[in-house]
Symmetry: D2
Subunit: 255 residues, 4 copies
C-alpha cells in the first residue's frame, strides 16, 4: 500500500493566506438562532444569561488567540479583530475562521449549564464563521461601528416590539404593523409615552453590546504589593465615536 | 446614527464560491488531540468510545447536510464529501467549512456524556476545518484512498508501538527506537511472534476507519408491510479497491 | 542601500495557481473593436483579412505554448485551451493570461502589414484576457460550443443586417428595426428571398469560426521518403457535435 | 441551436476583484529580454533608445488609465500604481493586468520604429504582467523603493561589468569572476580607478530609472494668457527618500 501514490491529492489544497498588513476580522454568527432562542425560552427582548454565555465563549477565544486585540458582540454574533501583524496560522483564512468558529461553538456549549438551568440545549448549537480583511484603521473602525449601529437599531426595535406585545397586549403581527415605517424618535416616544420606558436608561449591555479588550490590571501580590497583569475586560460602551479609540490608542497604533 | 454610512464595509467580503462541477471535501481535524486524548485517558492504541463519538458527530453533520454523499473518518479526523452538483450555501467555501466544523464540534461535545463516563471533557474540544476541491472521480477516490492508507499505516504502527509498551514492557522511547525503519511486514511479524496478534484479524473499525453512506433500508409499516427509507449507514470496509465503488456506483455517477 | 529592507514587499504577491487536473482556458478579446474595425475599414459583415490576422496571431501563441492543444477563434476573440495536465508557469493564472494576451497582441500588430495595406493601424490595438477553469470534458466541450454558437448567432445576424444595408438600401436603424424579434429561420428567409443568399453556402470560416489543432502531417525527406511532423492546422468545422471529437479523441483522452 | 444550453459555462468564471481601499500595482516585465536585447543589439550596459521606448509605451498606458497616478520603470520592467480608490474594471485583477500588459506590449511594438532604425523587431516582443496589492502608504512606498534599489544595484553592476569588458578587455566570464563578492564601494572604486568613471555623475535615467507622474503645466492660450493642463511628466529622481513624497504629497493623501 503505497502512501505516496495517493499523496498527490494534497497539492489540490489552495493557499488562502490573507493579505499582509491588513486587519483580519473573523465573525461568528448563530445559525438559526431565531428558532434556537424561541425553543430555549430566551427572555424577550433580551436574555441576559444568553448574552453572558456568548461573552463567556468569546472570552475563551481571546484567551486562546493572543493576537485578537478586540472582540465585539451583540445578539447572536461576535466579531474578533486580529492584529494587522498577526502571523497566527500563517494568516491562512480557513484556519483562522474554522478554529475561531469551532472554539466559540465548543465553549458556548461547554459553559451552557453555567448560565441556563438545563444541563445542555435541546440540540447542538451551530455558528458559522467568515474572514474579512480591512486595510485601514478607518475601515476597521467603520466595521465595528457598523456592527454597533446594527445593535442599536435592532435593540430599539426589539425593545419596542416586545413592549407592545408583553405590556401592550398586541399580537406580534399587530406590533409589527404598528412599527412599520417608524423612525428612532417614534420608537423612543412609544416606549416613553405608553410604557414609561426611557430607552436611554436601558442597560448599556443591551443598547451597546459588549466590547472585549485586554487591559493591564493590578494584581495583589503575597507580599502586599501589586503587579500588572493583562486581563480580558468587558465593557458596554460606545465604539463609534472617538473617545474609545483615544483611550485605547494602542489598539490602532503602529504601521 | 446612519446605518448606511458604515454599511460599505460589507463590500470588503470576498466571493469564495467553489468551482462548479467539482467534488467538495470538507475535512475536520482535532486540534491538539494527542494531548486531548492523553488528558482524557483514551485507551491505547485505540479508544472505541472516542471513535464512536467521532462517528456520532459525523452522522449529525450528514443528517444536516443532505448533499454530503459520503463521509470517512479515522483517528481524530473526518472528511465529508459533497456532491459535485451541490448548491449548499451557494458553494461558498467558508460557509461550508465553518458550518460543518461548528456542527461537528458541537455534536462531539453534545454527545460526549453518552460515550464517556464524565459529563463533559476537561475543556472545550476544538476541530479545524478546510475545504478542498477535486475535479475528477479518480481524484476524489484517491483523496479517500489517501486517508484510508494513512489510517492503515498509523494504526499498524500504533498497534505495534502500544503492544511493545503495554505487553512488552518497553518504554515509549524504547518502542520508538525498535520500530524505527521497520516496514509493514516487520510490524506484522513483531505483533505475531511476540504478542500472538494477527493484525489482519484486528477489528475492521480500527484497521479501515469508518465510512458513512446513505442507503435505502426497509422499514416495517404498521400494516405489516415495509417501505424503503434512506438511512445513514456506517461501514468499516476497504474504499481503496474497486469493490466498494462498484457496489456504490451511484456515488460517482452523473452529470 | 539595503536591498533586503524593501524586499519584504514580495510577500504581498498572491499564489494564484489553477486547480490541478482541470482544463484551463485563456480567452483574449479585442478591446473596443467595434470602433477599431470601423476606423480601419473592416469589410462588412466580415473582413477575411482581419480574421486571418487573428488566426495568424493565435498560431503564434500556439507555437510558443506547446501545452495549448486547441484554439478557437471568431470575430475579435480567441480561446486557448491548455491541456488539463499542463504545468506551464506552474499553472499560475495571471502568468498564463498575461503571457498569452501579450503575445497575441504583439503578433497581431507585428503581422498587421502582411494582411492590411497600411504599415500599421492608426493606434495600438488592445486585447484583454481571462483565465477560466473547466473540470470535465463535457464542460470544456460546452465552453467551445458556447463560443461557436455565439459565432453562428452573430454571423447570421450580421450577414442579414449588412445585406439589408448594402444590398437592400436600408439605414442601419431600419435594418435593426426589421430584424428585431426575428428567429434564425426568419433571417435565413430574408437572405434567400430578398438577396438570393443561401446562408448555408456562406464560407465555413464565417459561419463556424476557426479551430486550430496540432496534427501530424507527412513531410518530404531529402531521400525521397517522408516523416511525420506536428503542425498547427486550421479548420472551419463544427465542434458542437460529436464528429469532431470522435475524430480527435486524443484531445480529451487521459486522466 | 440553443444559446442558453451552453451559456451556463459563464458561471465558471471567478470573481477576482481586488480588496477595496488598497493600492493596486500592475507590473509588466519583458519576457526573455536578455536574449531580446542581445538579438536587437541593445547598447551595453544601457540602451537609451530602448529605455525611451519603454517610457513611451508606459506613457500610452497612463494616457489610457486615468487612475494610474504614478509609474516607475527601469530595465525591461514598468510598474503602474492605481489610486487606492480606483474602480477601473471594477478592480478586477485579471482585467487590470491583461489590459495594461496588452496595451504596453502593443505600444512598445507600435512605436518601435520611432526609436530603432529597423521598422520592427525580429519577432513579436512579449511582456508578462501581475497585479499586487499594498494596503498602506508605507507599503506602496517600499514597493517602489524596492524597484529603485534594484535599479541601482543592477545598474552599478552592469556599468562595471561592461566597462571591464568594453574598456578593460576582459571576457564576460573574467568580468563576472572579478565582480564576485564585491560591494558597492568596490565597484565604484573599479570604475573610478580603472576607467575614470565617477558613477555618481552617470545619467540619472540610468542610475534612478524613470518616474511618470501627472502634473499641471501652464499651456499658452491664443489670447496670450495661459491655463493649467494635466500632463504626464517623466523624471529621473530618487523616490526612496522623503523629498519626492513631500513634494508630491497629493499622491498619498486621502481616503
Amino acid at each position: 500500500m503505497a502512501k505516496s501514490k495517493f499523496e498527490y491529492v494534497r497539492l489540490f489544497e489552495f493557499d488562502d493566506r490573507c493579505l499582509l498588513n491588513t486587519w483580519i476580522v473573523v465573525r461568528v454568527d448563530g445559525k438559526g438562532f431565531h428558532k434556537f432562542s424561541t425553543e430555549h425560552d430566551y427572555e424577550k427582548p433580551n436574555d441576559i444569561k444568553a448574552l453572558s454565555l456568548m461573552t463567556k465563549a468569546a472570552t475563551s477565544v481571546m484567551e486562546e488567540f493572543k493576537d485578537i486585540c478586540l472582540a465585539y458582540g451583540q445578539s447572536d454574533e461576535y466579531s474578533f479583530v486580529f492584529r494587522k501583524e498577526t502571523q497566527a496560522y500563517s494568516r491562512r483564512s480557513a484556519k483562522l475562521s474554522t478554529n475561531v468558529c469551532s472554539l466559540f461553538t465548543s465553549a458556548f456549549l461547554y459553559y451552557w449549564s453555567e448560565y441556563f438551568t438545563s444541563s445542555r440545549p435541546l440540540y447542538p448549537p451551530v455558528f458559522d464563521g467568515r474572514t474579512v480583511l480591512y486595510p485601514s484603521n478607518q475601515n476597521i473602525r467603520d466595521y465595528l461601528s457598523w456592527r454597533q449601529a446594527d445593535c442599536h437599531i435592532n435593540n430599539l426595535y426589539n425593545t419596542t416590539f416586545w413592549a407592545l406585545i408583553l405590556k401592550g397586549g398586541l399580537t406580534p403581527s399587530e406590533a409589527e404593523q404598528k412599527l412599520k415605517g417608524t423612525l428612532s424618535g417614534d420608537k423612543n416616544e412609544i416606549l416613553f409615552s405608553q410604557f414609561a420606558i426611557n430607552y436611554n436608561t436601558e442597560p448599556d449591555m443591551l443598547r451597546k453590546g459588549t466590547v472585549l479588550v485586554r487591559r493591564k490590571v493590578p494584581v495583589a501580590l503575597p507580599n502586599g504589593g501589586t503587579r500588572e497583569k493583562s486581563q480580558i475586560i468587558q465593557e458596554h460602551i460606545d465604539i463609534i465615536g472617538d473617545e474609545f479609540w483615544d483611550k485605547n490608542s494602542h489598539l490602532l497604533s503602529i504601521s
